[in-house]
Symmetry: C2
């Protein structure tokens, strides 16, 4: 079984990255040059670049000048989001699995926190105020997402951030579909706002365990309200 042509191109590029001949921000050779050098067609080179592009490793743009060409980037979320979204769509992963994983990530993140400088919570508090200021469920949800991402970011693990972001993105459409069917949005929004403030307060007190516990209840309760997971019992 000979490797497929586009695979040899990927291997070459990956090899250049591992050996540091290619670093973040560098530009690749042109597609035609690379094809010629590796003895494959431009089509195969393009397939390889397309793959690396969906993996968040390369970004390519037409035109000329500094912004053009294929460039090495580093966006781990691209592949994670796309993959999770599609696998939820084919029912290979369930929304419940994703929510459980999200609870795991957030609980972990909050337990990592300790003695933070006070001002690091300022962005989160601004998002709290923004959530107070809106009555639109969709806008509320978007700010809610930013809020949770902001808190997880405090743990400082970029991989966890990327996974967290991808998890939310993969089930966003399900959450938004469920929103209009909620019984009493005003009441639910009020509860979510209160829970958010309690979580921020717990972080401010440096109580990681309590924060994690609050977050778990907060996430699971809304998921039940939205019909995304079964009622307990």
């Amino acid at each position: 079984m000979t490797a497929q042509a586009y695979e040899t191109v990927i291997e070459e590029i990956e090899s250049m990255i591992r050996s540091k001949r290619l670093k973040l921000g560098d530009r690749l050779e042109g597609e035609r040059v690379l094809a010629d050098r590796l003895g494959v067609s431009r089509t195969s080179v393009r397939e390889a670049i397309r793959v690396l592009s969906t993996l968040g490793i390369i970004r390519s743009a037409p035109g000329s000048g500094p912004s053009a060409g294929a460039q090495v980037i580093a966006d781990p979320e691209i592949a994670l989001s796309a993959s999770l979204r599609l696998h939820v769509a084919v029912d290979s992963l369930s929304v419940g699995d994703v929510i459980d994983a999200r609870v795991m990530l957030e609980s972990w993140a909050y337990r990592q926190l300790e003695q933070l400088p006070d001002d690091v919570l300022a962005p989160a508090r601004e998002l709290l105020d923004a959530m107070d200021a809106t009555d639109d469920p969709v806008e509320f949800h978007h700010i809610d997402t930013q809020f949770h991402l902001e808190l997880v970011r405090l743990a400082g693990n970029p991989l966890v951030n990327a996974i967290m972001s991808s998890l939310r993105a993969s089930i966003e459409s399900y959450v938004l579909d469920a929103a209009p069917h909620l019984e009493d949005w005003q009441a639910i929004a009020a509860r979510l706002r209160a829970e958010h403030r309690a979580i921020v307060a717990a972080i401010g007190e440096g109580d990681g365990d309590r924060t994690a516990s609050l977050a778990e209840g907060h996430i699971l309760a809304f998921a039940r309200d939205a019909g995304l997971i079964a009622q307990p019992g």
Copy 2:
């Protein structure tokens, strides 16, 4: 900004999946037919299929008969593994980040376990015996990987399984590179074997917290020995 041709193909296929016109195991139309139907070139269709293939959604094979053609599959690991591996290579993610995430996953998985039927630990115990039977660090590591995956699998969350598997795969080359440089492999292997058995025993007792704690120490200690993360203090 019009969507690129291959993106419209992906959207069409994703739409077919969401509307259940395409389910797991189904075969796609031929590339030529799909290209004609969507009014794009076969090249663009192929790029789309290649992307979905790296996302673990589609598998395609040449030839004829039941095994040929493009088929909807569900392998979440493909994209996760490839993406993580490359992002570690470009230093957009560090080995330490990956190890921390792995500790998070395993700790969570073990805390989920409760009152298991006794025989579910049989496969894990067999892997323990297999690890006893080898002196080769590389083979040991492979069985070690299977062992940890087997334990995490008991938690029953396929998404967590996929992430766990991908995390290990993404740093495997670093672990294997470090193996020959270990001071005293025999002593380390003996300690790993003992720790493994302690973990299995703790699971058998239904003590999730203790299992998680043992696993965390086990993982971090070896990572330090292998020079993958800094010494404490």
